[in-house]
Amino acid sequence: MIGLTVVTAIALVLSFLTDRGKTLAGLKKGAAMFLNILPALLNVLILVSVFLYAVPTHLLTDWLGRGTGWAGIASAALLGSISLIPGFIAFPLGAILVRSGVSYQVLAVFVTTLMMVGILTLPLEAKYFGWKVSILRNALSFFGALLVGLLMGIFL
């Protein structure tokens, strides 16, 4: 966060000192891109907020904690794919899960699907890549994440 701010500030100052017109053109382009995507982005954020209310983190812990064996792995993969939880919540949650007895394999599958698959963000992804490609990418990532999670389970 601080890094991004510093980098942006330096880039902006350097650009402005070198060529004012070009800098303004770049800022205009960036602003237009941001405003174009903002409505779709807000829609996704609303979806995500409602989802997190419907499936709060304590319920998530409960579901993941109860599941064992393949049922546990399946529910972890499903929950991980649908959820969009920022890292600053997901990782502490993962630490709690392990302490409450969830197997590393289930945790690994949850974390990898959480990162690599984004079902709720599909409408946004489709705006850039089209629906077919977005669905294909997420499907491939789902199996990839499952594979990574299962492999990790062997070594953890």
Binding site: M1, L12, A32, N36, V44, F91, P92, M115, V133, S141
Partner: protein, 177 residues
């Protein structure tokens, strides 16, 4: 005129409904609405702290960096070095998955190959350094190291696979608008 209004409703209708819902919930102390509003505030803050800065960088990058330069390093025929560069770029970034889409669109516009666009997305989801630091802190070095190690060949493979599938299909990353 009428079709314009319908288009605007399609674009902003859901947001408008949500704003009304939250406003009523706050006035009537409706707990579900307040809870959802609190969630939205968190996600909105995460977005608004990162994306505007990113789009400033994207805009500046767009006007300053010539297409030939990017195409040569990460374009078709850039080989393993192309993969290396897009992974490095992704690792230096932060933010949720959707923050990677505009960058992918920019890379594409500047001549990045299909494979490298998807390798970039894969690296963004799994190898961002700020996220790794956080993950190591909570889940341990072994967990993160194993995850990174296994993810790397998987998302590179997905990049190759998608490039193969999309070959000769007029695939393009669009700029929404």
């Amino acid at each position: 005129m009428k079709s314009k209004a319908i288009a605007a409703m399609k674009k902003y209708g859901f947001i408008l409904l949500f704003v009304i819902f939250i406003a009523v919930s706050l006035l009537k102390s409706f707990p579900a609405g307040r809870e959802i509003g609190k969630n939205f505030r968190m996600f909105f803050l995460e977005m608004i702290l990162i994306l505007p800065l990113m789009f400033i960088l994207i805009g500046l990058f767009d006007v300053w960096v010539p297409r030939e330069k990017i195409a040569r390093h990460v374009g078709p025929g850039s080989g393993s070095w192309g993969i290396f560069w897009v992974i490095l770029l992704a690792m230096l970034q932060a933010g949720p998955l959707y923050a990677s889409f505009p960058v992918a669109a920019l890379l594409w516009k500047k001549g990045c190959s299909v494979r490298n666009v998807f390798v970039y997305l894969g690296a963004f989801t799994t190898l961002k350094i700020p996220m790794l630091a956080f993950e190591i802190g909570f889940l341990g070095l072994k967990f993160s190291l194993l995850r990174a190690l296994f993810s790397l060949p998987v998302f590179i493979g997905i990049g190759y696979l998608l490039a193969l599938v999309l070959k000769n299909r007029n695939f393009a990353v669009k700029e929404p608008g």
